[in-house]
């Protein structure tokens, strides 16, 4: 299989996070179903909580939420990355929903993305 499959995703930022992404709340994007070698996040100081076991091997890895976060930080973020990410993961205090479900119920960063998935990032860090 040499055809590259892509996942079409809807990504939404709110709670003030949209300000880091060009003040645009909703983004639609298309990601390869398998992470391209050139784009793999550096596996070096891999935090122990990453559940993916294929992480450090040379096998192809399906596109997961950890990769999505890396992609958003590299390609869409326009301002102050430290307010979005903390190392390889999302900054504590930002809630993530995968198809309207708390990502903590979906395997967090290890969740493998599917075509049509909707991912919402909400900052809780702004004034109440």
């Amino acid at each position: 299989m040499s055809t590259i499959h892509h996942h079409h995703l809807k990504v939404e930022f709110s709670g003030g996070l949209e300000l880091l992404f060009g003040n645009q709340r909703v983004h639609t994007l298309s990601l390869p179903a398998v992470i391209p070698d050139s784009e793999r996040p550096s596996p070096s100081p891999s935090p122990p909580n990453l559940k993916s076991t294929s992480h450090s091997t040379s096998e192809s890895r399906s596109t997961d939420v950890t990769y999505l976060i890396h992609y958003l930080r590299t390609h869409l973020l326009t301002d102050r990355p430290e307010l979005f990410v903390d190392g390889d993961s999302i900054r504590p205090g930002i809630l993530v929903l995968i198809n309207d479900t708390d990502w903590e119920l979906e395997g967090e960063g290890a969740y493998e993305l599917k075509n049509g998935d909707e991912i919402v990032f909400i900052s809780t860090l702004h004034g109440g």
Partner: protein, 367 residues
């Protein structure tokens, strides 16, 4: 991962992992447990009695928006018999508070609650924009915090309410416990976990969300599609609170119950009698009559510094002159429920804090 079913109804698909308990629950059960826990917080502490007039401190942000919605819901569901109001403070921050107040005005329509807005300008003669242009962005959060607390009290007093509720959540309280420990502020450490406090003006202040996690408040707003405003204040954030907050959020990732556990620790602290004896008794401000632990309340001390700053810009030798305009004082007195004392002739100027702007312990972390 197979979708888990709700731990409570065993039926619908779980959408949330509760940080407090680790339970996986569905949307309807989440709404129900969230609201019911707040109801229990209210009834266990006997916060209200039928007929009470209650002002909801409303900023347009997530916590107070959810609080207004939940207070209205519970008041109707459990027949609390409360008269609810929205009370907002306009600090005079262009591009921030003016936008968030638009959200409060929409909430007023959506929840059909009467709204009262008080401005720093009418209370103190200064907007935050003017204060920042005078003192810069270093300690402006101190001014804003001191002024807001007093402004809420004065607003409540002019609405003639019995009680103010604010949206402080469990994360806020845990942060404050940590900050008070780290600052050695024993008096506030003792007070900051009280669900309800009462000044000598007889208006109660309470925090119905003090056991509600920020995560759940934000999730509640998200799933209920509540309309709230979430832009950071354009002036520099409170750096000290920021550190406490980052630390707490890191702890929460490692162990979600940390937040409620810190609150529990705060509630369980006992202050020794010999330490209590050294604490200053509450008195009333000589100038505006507001409750205070010094002769001048914090707001009057800060205003004094501001006015003196203006004077200093004219007289570089720093002559201390009473420059607070009587017009402003009169306005402030109208909002005070206490007898207003302006003892200009007997005022002891030696009592003033000279370097108001550089004293970190003047910051208000009080809740």
């Amino acid at each position: 991962m197979a979708p888990a079913s709700c731990a409570l109804c065993q039926n619908a698909k779980a959408i949330l992992k509760r940080p407090k308990t680790g339970q996986q629950i569905c949307k309807e059960c989440f709404f129900f447990v969230f609201e019911t826990e707040v109801h229990h917080t209210i009834t266990d502490a006997k916060l209200f009695k039928p007929g009470d007039k209650v002002a909801i401190g409303a900023s347009g942000g997530k916590d107070s928006t959810v609080l207004a919605y939940v207070m209205k819901t519970l008041n109707e569901r459990y027949n609390y018999g409360l008269d609810l109001y929205l009370l907002s403070i306009d600090e005079g921050i262009t591009g921030y508070r003016d936008d968030s107040l638009e959200t409060v005005k929409r909430n007023q329509q959506q929840y059909s609650l009467p709204l009262k807005i008080l401005t720093y300008e009418e209370l103190y003669g200064w907007t935050m924009d003017a204060i920042v242009s005078e003192i810069g962005k270093k300690n402006n959060c101190t001014f804003c915090g001191v002024f807001r607390r007093q402004a809420l009290d004065r607003g409540a007093s002019s609405l003639n309410v019995d009680h103010i509720v604010t949206g402080h959540n469990a994360d806020d309280i845990a942060e404050t416990v940590l900050m008070n420990v780290m600052r050695g502020d024993i008096a506030r450490l003792g007070r900051c976990t009280l669900i309800c406090t009462q000044g000598e003006d007889s208006i109660k202040r309470s925090k119905p969300f003090m056991y509600a996690y920020e995560k759940e408040i934000v999730m509640y707003a998200y799933f209920k599609k509540l309309d709230y405003f979430s832009t950071e204040c354009i002036y520099s954030p409170d750096a000290y609170r920021g550190h406490a907050r980052t630390f707490l959020k890191d702890l929460e990732v490692a162990r979600p119950s940390a937040i409620i556990d810190i609150i529990h620790s705060g509630e369980a602290f006992g202050v020794r009698e010999d330490v209590k004896a050294t604490q200053k008794p509450q008195q009333t401000c000589k100038r505006c009559g507001y409750m205070s632990s010094n002769e001048l309340c914090k707001a009057c001390t800060l205003l004094e510094g501001l006015e003196r700053g203006m004077a200093n810009s004219v007289t570089p030798d720093g002559d201390v002159l009473p420059r607070m305009s009587h017009k402003v004082l009169r306005r402030r007195s109208q909002f005070s429920s206490n007898s207003f004392v302006w003892a200009s002739s007997s005022w002891d100027w030696s009592n003033l804090v000279v370097s108001t702007y550089s004293r970190p312990h003047l910051s208000v972390f009080e809740m």
